[in-house]
């Protein structure tokens, strides 16, 4: 009965949200930018912030004179954390509202659901969240981290600086953790870690009773070798997980946890005292100390009128993606999709961690990788960073069926899954 009720609820929400955001029809002398982030439902917790960040970026750009002499206009829709609705809303943005580019989606499943729409209607999507890779699509620019820009450097750090020999790969049960853990497992084994020194554990979304798993981790960690937990646990489940770690006395000095989905925003709902020293790997931290970031934080706090709001990595990804798009449109002199797609490759803009990010031919960007330790004030302190920028690797070198694939969207190759072994375009993911 509850499934029926859920379906009905989703339907109701759908009807409500379609009616709510119409009326954003304006004159033709603006350039429209679509924002496709959930404002209700389970993903609202993360995505609402990104919607606000986009609105802020657009407002700031308009203050600077807009783009190509026109003002920018944001068109916000609410896909309500409902994956099929993402596709519907994307279609509405492109064909009804005629937006020039869309910034949005959070989970891989939402991105996969909108891919056919962007392909069919030939529009542009900027995806700002770290993901599992294994994809490169002509109409999508991936401004979040690929596994080699987050997961692998984190493991390297633990191996070199903490001499970790035993690994717990704990994740939520869906595509991103599963693929990432597959890549990490292959990577660890290639580094000489024995299979019995790797423990893999999956939990459902929103898991709240971590007692058994935390005591399993303690047990696994008492084999006389330094143990670490690599966490791809997503969203809400993190809070009870960290609470249980703190209560059962698992200290970062003994068994550190490095997380890929825990940022400043997630820590905001948590008493971080017992968590000091646990790690996270990102491409940006709010605590990064440079003038561009200080300015960004100041603008953000002023825009939200809240002094306690934090910034996080996906926000920086939108910052980079938006500026790249502005630059590409200026370069192309038009918002026409094909021209912008060509102009995007090679565009280079400042990021917030003090360097420049460049759009590569595989539609992924270059980023630095930072490892930070959680502090008592809910911020991260960078303890390590890559010496230079890391290029996003869409097809992992550590998976058998993707190691021969590359993506290059420049003519004449223009292919997202070129197989270097067979010399043909097409293969996995086509």
């Amino acid at each position: 009965m509850s499934i029926k009720a859920r379906a009905t609820g989703a339907l109701l929400a759908a009807i409500l949200s379609t009616t709510a955001f119409h009326g954003a029809f304006a004159a033709d002398d603006t350039i429209k930018v679509g924002i496709l982030h959930s404002l209700s439902g389970t993903m609202a917790i993360s995505e609402t912030t990104l919607k606000d960040a986009m609105l802020m970026l657009i407002e700031e750009q308009n203050k600077k004179g807009g783009l190509l002499g026109k003002q920018l206009e944001a068109v916000v829709v609410d896909p309500a954390s409902d994956w099929p609705l993402f596709a519907e809303k994307a279609r509405e943005l492109v064909s009804v509202n005629k937006v020039s580019a869309v910034f949005g989606c959070w989970t891989s499943v939402s991105r996969k659901s909108v891919l056919p729409v962007f392909e069919e209607l030939n529009s542009i999507l900027f995806y700002p969240v770290q993901y599992e890779g294994e994809e490169s699509q002509r109409n999508v620019f991936y401004t979040g981290a690929a596994p080699n820009q987050q997961a692998i450097p984190a493991v390297d750090y633990l191996m070199e600086n903490e001499s970790v020999e035993r690994w717990v790969l704990a994740g939520t049960d869906y595509v991103y953790p599963r693929t990432t853990n597959k890549i990490l497992e292959a990577y660890l084994i290639s580094k000489g870690v024995k299979p019995e020194d790797i423990m893999i554990n999956y939990t459902p979304f929103g898991h709240s009773d971590w007692q058994t798993i935390v005591s399993d981790i303690k047990k696994f960690g008492s084999a006389g070798k330094k143990t670490a937990v690599v966490s791809t646990i997503n969203g809400d489940a993190n809070v009870p997980f960290y609470k249980e770690l703190g209560n059962q006395g698992v200290k970062a000095e003994d068994i550190p946890v490095v997380a890929f989905s825990v940022g400043e925003e997630e820590l905001a709902g948590l008493d971080t005292g017992p968590l000091v020293g646990h790690l996270a790997a990102w491409n940006y931290f709010q605590s990064v100390d440079n003038p561009a970031n200080a300015e960004f934080i100041k603008t953000w706090k002023a825009f939200t009128k809240n002094d306690k709001r934090v910034t996080n990595d996906p926000m920086e990804a939108h910052y980079i993606g938006f500026n790249m798009w502005l630059k590409a449109v200026e370069k192309a002199g038009t918002t026409d999709t094909d021209a912008v797609l060509d102009a995007m490759i090679g565009v280079s803009v400042p990021n917030l961690s003090g360097g420049y990010s460049t759009m590569m031919p595989n539609h992924h960007i270059t980023k630095p990788v930072l490892i930070g330790e959680i502090q008592a004030d809910g911020q991260f302190e960078t303890v390590w960073e890559t010496p230079g920028l890391v290029v996003g690797d869409e097809w992992s070198d550590f998976l058998a069926d993707s190691k021969d694939l590359i993506a290059d969207w420049r003519a004449p190759m223009s292919c997202g899954n070129f197989n270097v072994a067979t010399g043909k375009c097409g293969g996995k993911g086509s």
């Binding site: 903490e162 008492s222 209560n247 003994d254 303890v383």
Partner: protein, 539 residues
């Protein structure tokens, strides 16, 4: 005579001066060593801390403690390192060695001395060694415990000296264990190590297991059988305790299920309303706790330990009032139409969720645990966390309260009368509509109380309730609709079943298995564990 006296005096003075000079020089050395911590890389600081620990001077303890806590700062202007305490927009500077107060300084002029896990580990070891001879028994006990957890061969000499001087029995016992642990990782002769293995095995527990497995790799041939036997012995003990631990986890999960379901046992179980907004009542209870805590933090920080006790009645009133409005405004028009009730309450749940999202924002809110709900204690081989333990106690207390209310009070009597035979109750002069409203308010209020408890272990976000609604219905249906005892037994059965399955099947498969078992059970006994009998069933 006179000259000799002066001569002696001068001699003494010289010696004293010399002594003072060496003392000063040592202090100078310490100071420059502490100052060198500022601006050093992690590797350099690691060496620096080890060097500081070698001096064995207890004066550096506060500086090291401050470094581990992240309270050690470098003054950029002159490169001097201070301990700081926050003082408004400024920092209060404290001398790193003497502890003297040196006034306030703007934050901008100071830079934090960075610390990472590796440094914290080194500091912990160093502090353990430095505080072994402290006059305070508790500090000594803690120091011995630290060395026991992270034994090093270097600590051995210090341990033996401390052991010889120790008078307190409890500290001595820990020191003995720590010494045995340190011997295992040292290069002492095999005989001594054999004795050490025996001591470690006797200590038992996970840490000992970890120590022995670590030592096994580099152990001498003649020592191996001892260590292996020891490991087996500890593992046997632990596997026994693991069974008990699973049952405990099951009880704990069961108590959470009970709390989530017990309000529903009234609204759905007793009244027969399919209340999809039940989860949102739990969520409102949790948000009430958040508001209470925020208010207390701002107005009376001293009352913080009592915040939960204050939140309980408020949560009951808030959610009870929402329940009352819901019943009077919507549900009373829909009695006897379950499908419409389901849709209407689902709509209410969406409205409540989005309202909370609009008011408090979509992100998680921080609800802190009072100190009596943090941490854990050891019971034999069991790790019992305080928050789980109090939640079990609390859930049973709520259950007892509800049982008393329904069975022993006039209000409970009226409630049972109305739900069993409405027309008869009505003709006896009971105002049935108001009893309905109050019963629904009671169920909602109990859900709100559950929310106060659940805010201690789960996220406080607008989605909090959704995670519990399915489980709540599951418990009530499994236990038998309309029976409080059924809800109790159902909750604990499902909790224990889940936790016994989890280690073997994993969290995902475990949950699926439990659902399959419930479906099979409902096929066999459609009315649940404790079915109501008699005329009430047909009504």
């Amino acid at each position: 005579m006179h000259t000799r006296l002066i001569h002696r005096f001068l001699q003494c003075l010289l010696v004293a001066l010399c002594l003072m000079a060496t003392d000063l020089r040592a202090a100078d050395d310490l100071r420059s060593m502490v100052n060198a911590l500022g601006g050093g890389s992690f590797q350099q600081n690691q060496k620096q801390i080890e060097a500081l620990a070698k001096t064995g001077d207890p004066k550096i303890v506060p500086a090291l403690e401050a470094l581990a806590e992240g309270d050690l700062y470098l003054r950029k202007a002159d490169g001097i390192v201070f301990i700081v305490r926050p003082a408004g927009a400024n920092f209060r500077l404290i001398d790193a060695l003497t502890g003297d107060d040196l006034g306030e300084e703007a934050k901008a002029g100071l830079e934090k001395v960075k610390v990472n896990n590796g440094l914290r580990r080194t500091i912990r070891g160093a502090l353990g060694g430095l505080t072994l001879m402290s006059p305070d028994v508790n500090v000594r006990l803690q120091a011995a415990g630290t060395i026991l957890r992270t034994p090093t061969a270097d600590a051995l000499d210090g341990l033996e000296i401390a052991l010889a001087a120790e008078t307190d029995g409890a500290v001595k016992a820990v020191l003995e264990k720590a010494r045995a642990a340190a011997i295992l990782v040292s290069d002492r002769p095999v005989e001594e190590k054999k004795a050490a293995v025996a001591t470690v095995v006797q200590t038992g527990g996970r840490d000992s297991l970890s120590l022995l497995s670590g030592a096994l790799a580099s152990a001498d041939e003649s020592l191996r059988p001892d260590i292996e036997a020891g490991i087996r012995q500890i593992e046997d003990q632990l596997s026994l305790w693991a069974g008990a631990q699973n049952i405990w986890y099951g009880l704990s999960l069961g108590s959470v299920l009970l709390l989530a379901a017990i309000g529903l046992a009234i609204t759905f179980g007793v009244m027969g309303i399919i209340n999809m907004a039940h989860g949102e009542m739990v969520m409102l209870g949790a948000y009430t706790t958040f508001v209470v805590q925020a208010y207390i933090r701002a107005a009376w920080p001293g009352l913080f330990e009592w915040s939960l006790a204050i939140a309980l009645p408020l949560a009951f009133l808030v959610t009870g009032a929402v329940g009352l409005v819901m019943e009077r405004g919507i549900i009373r028009f829909l009695y006897g139409r379950p499908l419409e009730t389901l849709l209407a309450t689902w709509g209410v749940s969406l409205i409540l969720q989005q309202a909370v999202r609009s008011i408090f924002g979509p992100t998680n809110q921080e609800v802190a645990n009072p100190s009596w709900m943090s941490g854990a204690f050891e019971l034999g081989g069991l790790t019992v966390t305080w928050n789980r333990m109090w939640i079990i106690v609390f859930s049973l207390a709520v259950f007892a309260f509800l049982l008393f209310l329904l069975k022993k009070t006039p209000m409970g009597l009226q409630m049972r009368a109305v739900t069993q035979n409405r027309r008869m109750a009505s003709s006896m002069g009971i105002r049935t509509p108001w009893v309905d409203a109050l019963t629904f308010a009671l169920g909602s209020g109990i859900a709100g109380i559950a929310g106060v408890a659940l805010s201690q272990i789960d996220n406080v976000s607008p989605n909090l309730g959704q995670g519990y609604i399915i489980d709540s219905f599951m418990v009530v249906v499994f236990g038998g609709v309309g029976n409080l005892w059924g809800t109790l037994v159902g909750a604990f059965t499902l909790g224990i079943l889940n936790k016994v399955l989890e280690p073997y099947a994993g969290a995902v498969l475990g949950k699926i298995l439990v659902l399959v078992l419930i479906i099979l059970f409902i096929q066999k006994r459609p009315r649940g564990l404790f079915a109501l009998k008699g005329r009430a069933v047909e009504a």
